[in-house]
């Protein structure tokens, strides 16, 4: 019941939608669209190149992963189109319900989820499988944007920040039981949104310090987490450093110009499940430092576009939605590349638009649609 109190119902804010400055004033951001389409096409090409071997070996069909991804991408493009047409003010009113749905779905995974590689993350509906954690990210962005922009409180103290954090703790807990990385991403998005919405700086330094202390305690609580640190520092010494080391072999053997598209050897079973989290290492191997930097540049431009949309948004709701999406994108790209290059200890985070994963691409594209929707209301 306590949670319910935090949920401002749609009725209370219904009148806001009719404000006149919420009418779309211009075209959606074309550059953002172009960047997204580039990433989607590039991602599909790389995915096919990377997964062909695994598809052939496991399913006797080199295009097995590609076909599934293509289907999800088509759905995602449809989702992007729809969400870009929808008025985000209207959509935001359903944010609490969306959040509730994500909680229920995450709960359902705990009981009915499919296990794969030792983690229960998927819900099966007939031939389709669905990862509720991906949906949870969108739900949290919308919820926080909605709650913050509608809060009546003038106070910007720690208390209100704490209240907002409390709101998302249930989903962080639920998702975190099986998917720590996604829980961290959700927390990260929340911290960014609170940071932007609050005029102060000092409290965030405290939060940062507390966060570091928390991570330290968290790590030392379980010995396997410390082991992960040891593997990070010297992956060649440990059996469990295998994936990391294989990724580094791929990256290193790419050199400056790479071996050429399709010519990776590490994808031939050396990097396990190369089409998933480690796909960036294969990009490095095939397209070299040049190709990898171009990809990082495109991601950088995408984040820049999202920032521009956020700063030009007419209202805080739109701005926070764009910032949430920007944070989501930035955290995943940075963490993924940092993990693949063994800059930080290994944790499973996918590379947006590129890594294999239908649910991920579907919701990422829908998020981009939301951003496009926000861009249509720019001043």
């Amino acid at each position: 019941m306590e949670l319910r109190r935090g949920f401002p119902g749609p009725r209370q804010t219904g009148s806001d939608c009719l404000q006149k400055d919420t009418e779309p004033k211009r075209q959606a951001d074309e550059l953002l669209l172009i960047l997204v389409l580039f990433l989607v096409v590039f991602g599909l090409i790389i995915l096919y190149s990377t997964s062909a071997y695994n598809g052939r070996v496991k399913f006797d069909d080199p295009a097995y992963y590609f076909k599934k991804q293509l289907f999800a991408t088509a759905l995602g493009l449809l989702g992007m189109y729809i969400s870009s047409c929808v008025d985000y003010h209207w959509l935001a009113k359903y944010a609490p319900w969306g959040y509730l749905a994500s909680l229920l779905l995450s709960l359902a995974v705990l009981f009915f989820g499919d296990e794969y590689n030792g983690s229960k993350r998927w819900l099966s509906i007939g031939p389709l499988s669905f990862q509720p954690a991906e949906f949870a990210k969108v739900a949290v962005i919308l919820l926080l944007a909605y709650v913050i922009s509608n809060s009546k409180s003038k106070k910007n103290g720690l208390l209100s920040m704490g209240k907002i954090m409390l709101l998302i703790l249930p989903i962080v807990g639920l998702v975190g039981t099986n998917n720590l990385s996604t829980a961290i991403i959700i927390l990260g998005i929340a911290v960014i949104l609170i940071f932007v919405s609050n005029p102060k700086y000092l409290p965030f330094i405290w939060i940062g310090g507390l966060g570091i202390a928390f991570v330290g305690i968290f790590l030392s609580m379980e010995s396997y987490r410390l082991e992960r640190l040891a593997i990070w520092r010297d992956p060649e010494k440990y059996d469990k450093g295998f994936q990391t080391i294989q990724g580094l072999y791929a990256i290193g053997s790419g050199g400056i110009f790479g071996k050429g598209l399709g010519s990776s050897l590490q994808k031939l079973g050396f990097v396990p499940e190369a089409q998933n989290d480690m796909i960036f290492s294969i990009i490095c191997e095939e397209t070299g430092l040049v190709g990898a930097c171009i990809l990082i540049l495109v991601f950088g431009l995408l984040i820049w576009r999202l920032m521009v949309i956020a700063t030009h948004a007419t209202d805080l709701l739109g701005a926070l939605i764009a910032i949430g999406i920007m944070g989501h994108m930035a955290i995943q790209v940075i963490l993924n590349i940092a993990v693949v290059t063994n800059t930080i200890p290994n944790t499973g985070i996918t590379l947006p638009f590129i890594s294999y994963g239908g649910t991920s691409v579907l919701f990422l594209l829908s998020e981009m649609g939301l951003a496009l929707s926000v861009s249509r209301y720019q001043k």
Partner: protein, 574 residues
């Protein structure tokens, strides 16, 4: 509904800037990995992807003085199985059983072992390899390589030596000239995926092997063969333990023949040449038996030279001027040195005799007297000058060093025994080389087999050079020694080696082996011809002959027979 205020925008830009900074940091990390660490990781990755198979380089041949090949190569096959590529396991197992004679259990173990490549059998005959290839079974690899092959089986076995499983020399010239003969192995590199399946689209890269060079040696197959026959004959006649024969050119140290009967079969070096049964032996016993069989008595073992060593005593005495040809001596059948009475081999004594006659009689008291006149210091000076105290430097492994008294321990008695060749030990090659150097005009030569290194097209790569030390004795002493030793053969104890119409110099020896009570003897003869310009020097050593054991009686005639046969062949006259 809140407004999008300036501080919101400012903080958005801060978040963006932080993200870009982190991305730039990651780009830096990637530059480190992909530029500076690239070679390291690329090499590691390559090691992971590549499967390597060696292509053995053809080992160089060993060729005798006439161009006859004494050690060559023959094509054999290595059979391997690649676990991940085998489709019909049972067929492969059945084939291995049938063609290679493996039992089922062994064959199954090889086939079912999970490894990238498992070697089943090496040194398989080429016909068998071809048959296996014709089965066309997946996952079975037949690689051709070379096996050492010796066309004359036992000929000069302890000189040539043989090679091991990796074609590396084990004993003899095969070890000594390993670097010349071995060549550089080639490689076949194939790239595979993580399951070990070869990637056809990348293909295989080949590093071709470089054949080893041919070694041309001074040994003459015909001379060696004749000497081996003679050695075998006398060994059977005298029921001796072993017979060694050395024939060399005293002018330059080139060895024409080196026989150590019984020889062994180089193509089956682990089969004992005696009828002994190896099945009941422990590993150590087997190894000892092999080592014994492989020993080259001419260089690996020392013996008491006996009277042949009087040549050295005489040369030192003449060179030092303590004795001349016409000095007279008296032999009552013994000589008293300090408190010992040392007997001459002729107990009744030789009576009055000149030094020349003493040498012809091989009279012990004469040489004892010469030795005593030289004294320890002078004697050892000449040992050193003649090169006796060092190894000869022959191009065979395992040469034994001279076992001589320490100078400070040599009293008059020891000095006396040394002077007629007892109480110390040297190798046959050391004796032959030292005498060669005394009778060739005084140049210490290095005994050797290797003459030239050529490639297979006959192009000269290297002419092997050996150390020579001039003037170890004067020309005059050398000529006097030639004269003395010629007289030993023409009218003295070596007369059984005399050949009508030729000038032969030589010295016989009969020495008792330790312990003296066993009554075992070594009889030997050292001869050379022609005396004024020696071209061939031969040494025969008969170990433990039965019956008559005098060197002059049993060893000299063998050398005579050899000389009679090989000198016309070699074109040596006079």
């Amino acid at each position: 509904m809140k407004k999008n205020r300036t501080y919101h925008k400012k903080k958005t830009v801060i978040v963006f800037a932080a993200c870009i900074c982190m991305l730039l940091g990651l780009v830096g990390r990637m530059v480190y990995l992909m530029v500076f660490q690239s070679d390291y990781y690329a090499k590691k990755a390559e090691e992971l992807h590549e499967r390597e198979r060696d292509i053995k380089a053809a080992r160089g041949k060993i060729i005798d003085a006439n161009g006859t090949v004494l050690a060559a190569n023959k094509t054999v096959c290595t059979i391997s199985v690649i676990h991940s590529q085998i489709t019909d396991k049972d067929a492969v197992i059945a084939m291995l059983q049938k063609e290679l004679g493996l039992d089922e259990e062994t064959a199954r173990k090889r086939v079912e072992k999970v490894s990238s490549i498992e070697r089943v059998k090496t040194n398989v005959e080429k016909e068998v390899g071809d048959r296996i290839r014709n089965y066309g079974l997946d996952g079975v690899k037949v690689d051709e390589d070379f096996k050492r092959y010796y066309p004359y089986d036992t000929l000069a076995s302890k000189v040539l030596g043989f090679t091991g499983g990796d074609n590396q020399g084990i004993i003899g010239l095969e070890v000594m000239y390993e670097d010349v003969l071995k060549g550089i192995d080639g490689k076949i590199l194939t790239t595979t995926d993580a399951r070990g399946v070869e990637l056809d689209e990348i293909g295989e890269s080949r590093v071709d092997p470089v054949s080893g060079y041919n070694l041309h040696i001074s040994l003459d197959r015909n001379v060696q063969m004749y000497a081996e026959q003679a050695a075998k004959k006398v060994m059977e006649q005298k029921q001796a333990d072993a017979v060694s024969i050395l024939l060399m050119n005293p002018q330059n140290g080139e060895i024409l023949a080196m026989v150590n009967t019984p020889e062994f079969d180089l193509n089956e070096p682990f089969k004992l040449n005696t009828s002994e049964d190896t099945s009941g032996m422990t590993d150590k016993e087997k190894q000892d038996a092999w080592n014994g069989m492989w020993r080259n008595l001419c260089i690996n073992d020392t013996y008491e030279p006996g009277s042949t060593f009087k040549i050295i005593t005489a040369a030192a005495g003449l060179e030092e001027g303590v004795v001349t040809l016409n000095d007279t001596f008296s032999c009552p059948g013994y000589k008293v040195v300090e408190d010992r009475r040392i007997h001459c081999h002729k107990r009744t004594g030789h009576g009055g005799e000149t030094f020349l006659q003493g040498a012809m009689n091989s009279c012990n008291p004469v040489f004892i007297e010469v030795g005593l006149r030289l004294g320890v210091d002078n004697y050892y000076k000449y040992f050193k000058q003649f090169g006796l105290m060092e190894k000869t430097g022959i191009d065979l492994p395992g040469e034994a060093a001279t076992i001589m008294h320490q100078k400070k321990n040599v009293g008059q008695v020891e000095l006396a025994t040394i002077s007629f060749g007892q109480s110390f030990q040297i190798t046959p090659i050391q004796l032959a080389t030292t005498v060669s150097s005394i009778i060739n005009g005084g140049t210490r030569v290095t005994p050797h087999f290797g003459v030239e290194v050529r490639d297979d097209d006959g192009k000269l790569i290297e002419t092997l050079a050996y150390e020579k030390k001039k003037h170890i004795v004067s020309q005059e002493t050398s000529e006097t020694m030639q004269y003395i030793l010629e007289n030993v053969v023409s009218g003295g104890s070596g007369k059984n080696a005399y050949i009508e119409g030729r000038t032969i110099g030589g010295k016989t020896a009969t020495s008792q082996t330790l312990p003296r009570s066993a009554n075992r003897y070594i009889s030997s003869f050292l001869g050379f011809t022609p005396t004024d310009n020696p071209q061939v020097l031969g040494l025969i050593v008969i170990h433990d002959p039965q019956g008559v054991y005098y060197g002059g009686t049993i060893a000299a005639p063998v050398m005579k027979e050899i000389f009679e046969n090989i000198l016309p062949y070699l074109g040596v006259e006079g």
